[in-house]
């Protein structure tokens, strides 16, 4: 795998939109061609080379390209969005839309990620060593398809609206989650290793939510069915199993109604 190293050399006055920092956009290009890619600050179009110094060369394909981004990226949006293969390592916290709509490859953020991270992602592996903002792996406004595939792992805490309209894939949060986990969820799995506040699984159709800690206020539409032993992300434990949201529509499979599954560690 060939490596391109970007280092931010000038901070934007406002915020920078850099959806071109992906292995897909870089593959097969020379350093000059990469420097000539567009980045955007408000209504002004700049060149990537105006803000970043570039070292190394990318591979011929996205899969053969690794991008490392250095410096303070807290005012940079959209890194790794829509990537389909290869690897991106962000050596800092970054702003919104990291890995939004990503379909494949690996994205690692060594710090915190802003809101709308992994929005509507369909595949690949997204890891955040710090905390994530709101709408992690959720749907874009108005879309009924949130995260559909891939793995999204956060070591720290996550904000509100984790996995709204989620339909597939897996979200694992090492710490706590704010309100609204898996709202309108219709597939996939959300694991919260810490505590969840409230509005967990509201309007959930199917899929799984697993909480290791506590839930402050349960949704009224979840009924306790039984207790089960599960192995979740390497931890074996007994979980209370709830089904819901009983107020929501549910499909039938082989004659039986399919409910959303909520597990809370005993």
């Amino acid at each position: 795998m060939k490596k391109v190293e970007l280092t931010i050399k000038q901070q934007p006055e406002l915020y920078l939109e850099t959806e071109n920092i992906t292995p897909d956009a870089f593959a097969g290009k020379s350093a000059d061609e990469i420097a000539a890619l567009n980045v955007y600050e408000g209504n002004v179009t700049h060149k990537l080379g105006d803000f970043f110094s570039i070292a190394g060369t990318p591979g011929a394909t996205a899969a053969d390209t690794q991008i490392v981004v250095n410096g303070n990226l807290e005012r940079v949006k959209w890194i790794g969005s829509r990537m389909t293969a290869g690897e991106v390592v962000v050596e800092s916290s970054m702003d919104m839309y990291a890995g939004a709509f990503m379909a494949g490859g690996k994205l690692l953020i060594k710090g915190n990620a802003g809101h709308f991270t992994g929005l509507g992602m369909t595949g690949g592996e997204l890891r955040i060593t710090g905390n994530a903002g709101n709408y992690l792996g959720a749907a874009y406004r108005g879309d009924w398809r949130g995260m559909q595939g891939g793995v999204l792992r956060v070591n720290g805490n996550a904000g509100s609206d984790v996995g709204s309209f989620m339909r597939g894939g897996e979200i694992i949060i090492g710490g706590d989650a704010d309100v609204h986990v898996g709202t309108h969820q219709e597939g996939g799995k959300i694991v919260v290793k810490g505590n969840a506040k409230s509005k967990v699984g509201g309007q959930m159709v199917k899929g799984e939510i697993i909480v290791f800690g506590t839930i402050d206020v349960m949704m009224p539409g979840f009924a306790h069915r039984d207790n089960v032993d599960l192995e979740v992300d390497g931890t074996k434990a007994t979980f209370k199993r709830y089904e819901g949201d009983l107020g929501e529509r549910h499909p039938k499979s082989k004659g039986a109604v399919v409910y959303g599954q909520l597990y809370i560690k005993q």
Partner: protein
């Protein structure tokens, strides 16, 4: 001598009452009295007659004092500020007519602005929910003529929309509602003991921030599933009772206010309230409607809806319309430092935005177009007073049920004053020259 003008439309709240009578002097220059209006609406008309009203634009001096300038100078300053910005925010639009909003849209597109209206701190969450799950709604005329169950959720119309209950919901006798209020059931859902709640048949004193749970519980009850003993501070027996009453209504309507749109869960509250309404349509006829605040906030959503496809938080910076409240919403833009100038028209963010946002408005170039002196004009570099829409100039406005109503001019504006639309056209002309289009 004086004359009376009838069927005047009130440019205050989203109820857009169209039965006001205004007494004006024979020469049409002085407004003397207003009848049929609520206290707030009457004040809006009478305030146009204030002796201390500003009639000329004023620009901030270095030392913070003001100097009078001409409308030409004001338009020059505004055009230059907007043309020099990388990401200008054009906010407000809710207390002006659709004609001005339309010119504003042209300006926004030309300069790649962030267009946002007062829905951003009001019913914007409603608009998000409507996009997510749709909306079964109706007109206020249908409510008046058919509804026998009225629900006010998270709102206090007795004070915020004073004539809403008497004109449309509780009291009027309509075609199928000949008994007036005696034939209607009023439910108010509010943690507070409001004046609206005091006349309700059922007052559900929901625990603060638990509307989402209560709405979810209603859906569970409709399906005959088992509820926990108490949800959101309401005993389950009461929830089953109200759910049954809702199912048995002939025509019900849920009106909701900022008690649900701007409290915990925000758009999700509306999302699930819409689903409650949809569930009820399995049994009877039910509708849902937001209690829109400013008289033409609905109109600005309509204008942008047909221009850009989105009703608020429109980001035009890249030459095409993008929309994502949370990023392109005014307060996020201001607090995060994403914009470098602000143009305010027909609204008072200085009074309604968080302090962090207002502080930012003070730091960056800011123009405010407003007939009044407001907290926003305090942080503005240029204040452009204009004629009152609906009093001194007519124009189209949309009622809370999305019905367009033409407002009327009843009195002349003070000598030399221009309208929102005229000022925006002056700014647009200058911008077209600067941009060479």
């Amino acid at each position: 001598m004086s004359k009376i003008i009838t069927d005047v439309v009130c440019p205050f709240c989203g109820t857009l009452c169209d039965d006001l009578e205004v007494t004006v002097s024979d020469d049409g220059k002085k407004l003397i009295d207003v009848s049929n209006a609520c206290a707030i609406g009457a004040m809006k008309f009478l305030h146009s007659q204030a002796d201390d009203r500003l009639t000329k634009p004023r620009m901030r001096n270095e030392d913070g004092s003001w100097r009078d300038v001409s409308y030409e100078e004001a338009a020059d300053f505004s055009a230059k500020m907007l043309a020099n910005s990388k990401k200008p925010l054009m906010y407000g639009w809710s207390s002006t007519n659709c004609e001005a909003q339309s010119v504003g849209s042209t300006i926004g597109e030309l300069i790649g602005a962030q267009m946002d209206n007062t829905a951003t701190v009001c019913h914007g969450t409603t608009l998000i929910a409507v996009q997510d799950v749709g909306v079964p709604s109706c007109t206020l005329g249908e409510v008046k003529n058919r509804a026998d169950m009225i629900i006010y959720w998270g709102g206090n119309p007795a004070h915020a929309h004073p004539r809403h209950m008497s004109r449309y919901s509780m009291y009027p006798r309509g075609f199928f509602t000949a008994k007036g209020h005696r034939g209607r059931t009023l439910v108010v859902v509010d943690p507070r003991d409001t004046d609206s709640a005091s006349i309700a048949d059922i007052h559900l004193k929901v625990e603060q921030g638990r509307d989402y749970e209560l709405l979810s519980a209603l859906r569970v009850a409709f399906r005959g599933e088992v509820l926990p003993d108490v949800v959101a501070g309401i005993p389950k027996e009461k929830i089953y009772e109200v759910a049954e009453k809702m199912k048995k209504a002939r025509f019900g309507v849920i009106f909701f206010g900022m008690g649900v749109t701007q409290t915990l869960s925000k758009n999700h509250n509306i999302d699930i309230a819409i689903q409650v309404t949809r569930d009820l349509n399995e049994y009877t006829k039910f509708s849902i409607m937001p209690m829109r605040g400013h008289y033409n906030v609905t109109g600005s959503g309509e204008v942008w809806g047909w221009q850009f496809g989105f009703p608020f938080c429109v980001d035009l910076s890249r030459g095409f319309a993008r929309y994502n409240p949370g990023e392109s919403s005014s307060n996020d833009l201001l607090v995060r430092g994403e914009v470098d100038s602000v143009f305010v028209i027909g609204s008072d963010p200085g009074a309604h935005f968080p302090f962090g946002s207002v502080k930012k408005m003070n730091e960056i170039p800011c123009v405010c177009v407003d007939p009044h002196i407001t907290p926003t004009t305090v942080v503005a570099d240029l204040h452009v007073p204009v004629a009152f829409v609906g009093v001194e100039v007519g124009g189209c406005a949309y009622r809370m049920d999305s019905v367009p109503i033409e407002t009327h001019k009843v009195v002349d504006a003070p000598e030399g004053m221009i309208t929102d639309e005229e000022f925006l056209n002056m700014v647009l002309e200058r911008l077209q020259k600067i941009k060479g289009v």
